[in-house]
């Protein structure tokens, strides 16, 4: 009798751990995509825009913002995402006028402010490109929990692994939501409308 009880308790405990653990894992993963305020994204940074202006986290306050990390030696994801963002803004029209879009380079060694200016300018005159020293880049990435890493391609070439989500920040400069790389324009624009409605 006692032995059965012990086994039963052990099974219940094991199940609880599995269920609880799964719930925690799921909520953590969903947190970065769907929730408001449960993930600590956003924080201090000091970067330079393409026109030489200094931009800090204070400059995000007063308008909703999109923040995306990438680099210009990126043949596919970064240009595609910037083109997508431009498409979202077109769809929003004047409703989205208050949105500021920031493209943050994770590759300041190659991405100068001048190059960044012409790069993002190709997609929209509204985009702001931010760059900084390696230390400043590390700081902004840490604030946004954005991952990046240099990967060698041989012959002196390299690419950067990087977080591809577009971060939505509200008028107070706080994290609102994220649009993942795979999101359809419909989903993305819906999230942007919610961001704008929360203004």
């Amino acid at each position: 009798m006692t032995q059965r009880r012990v086994i039963f308790a052990a099974v219940v405990l094991a199940l609880a751990v599995v269920i609880g653990g799964t719930a925690l894992l799921v909520s953590q993963r969903n947190g970065i995509r769907e929730s408001v305020g449960t993930v600590d994204i956003g924080g201090p940074f000091t970067m330079t825009a393409q026109d030489g202006a200094i931009v800090t986290e204070q400059d995000l306050i007063g308008h909703p913002s999109l923040v995306f990390f990438g680099f210009t030696y990126c043949p596919d994801v970064c240009p595609s995402t910037l083109a997508e963002i431009a498409g979202w803004l077109d769809q929003l029209g004047p409703d989205g006028d208050a949105l500021e879009v920031y493209f943050v380079t994770v590759d300041p060694a190659r991405d100068t402010p001048e190059l960044l200016g012409s790069y993002v300018g190709h997609f929209s005159p509204r985009f702001v490109a931010l760059s900084g020293s390696q230390a400043q880049t590390a700081e902004i990435a840490a604030s946004y929990k954005a991952y990046y890493k240099r990967i060698e391609l041989g012959e002196g070439d390299y690419t950067m692994d990087h977080t591809a989500a577009v971060y939505l920040m509200d008028v107070d400069g706080h994290f609102f939501d994220a649009i993942t790389f795979q999101a359809t324009p419909e989903k993305a624009v819906a999230k942007l409308r919610r961001l704008l409605a929360a203004t």
Partner: protein
């Protein structure tokens, strides 16, 4: 791919069998190369992405092992590695790209692509660039990549997406000539 895409592909293959290349297709033995294109990069961008569809009508697998372009300092085949954490990882296809017997491989934004590094000329919509594709069995094929505006990504690659098909019709591209 949708049924429509399959029909377009079949049509392209039928047409592409002859060496008189139609519209924008090429043939080399059992291999058909359909609509090679480059996404127009921002001016001065150090890299550009190249895409195309490859069909293998033969009984044995073939492999695209090399891409050579005079206009670019270096060309490499890359794939995107999916990641749960939303981290973009691009890796070279060290052994090239296999096309199974009877198979079709589509290189498209967000998936497999050719990275053309340090183009020596500006790449603007409408331009055509000569590129040689080298296949293990089919050999070297010279094709022209057409520069066109960045295409929307194929969002049907996302499992959790609802069934909106706005972006899946990539076979539309081959009709432009």
């Amino acid at each position: 791919m949708t049924l429509f895409s399959h029909i377009c592909l079949a049509a392209a293959l039928v047409v592409g069998q002859s060496h008189a290349a139609s519209a924008h297709d090429y043939a080399a033995g059992a291999i058909s190369i359909i609509h090679p294109w480059i996404a127009e990069p921002p001016p001065g961008a150090p890299v550009a992405g190249g895409y195309l569809t490859i069909a293998n009508d033969g009984d044995t697998a073939d492999r695209l092992v090399e891409v050579m372009a005079d206009f670019a300092d270096r060309s490499q085949l890359h794939r995107m590695i999916p990641s749960d954490e939303g981290v973009m990882q691009m890796r070279p296809l060290e052994d090239g790209l296999e096309i199974a017997a009877g198979g079709v491989v589509v290189l498209e934004p967000g998936g497999i692509h050719i990275m053309f590094m340090r183009p020596a000329v500006p790449l603007r919509e409408g331009d055509s660039l000569a590129v040689t594709l080298v296949f293990e069995h089919a050999g070297a094929v010279e094709v022209e990549f057409r520069v066109q505006a960045t295409e929307p990504m194929n969002h049907e690659m996302d499992m959790e997406d609802d069934a909106l098909d706005d972006h899946d019709d990539h076979m539309d591209m081959e009709e432009g000539s």
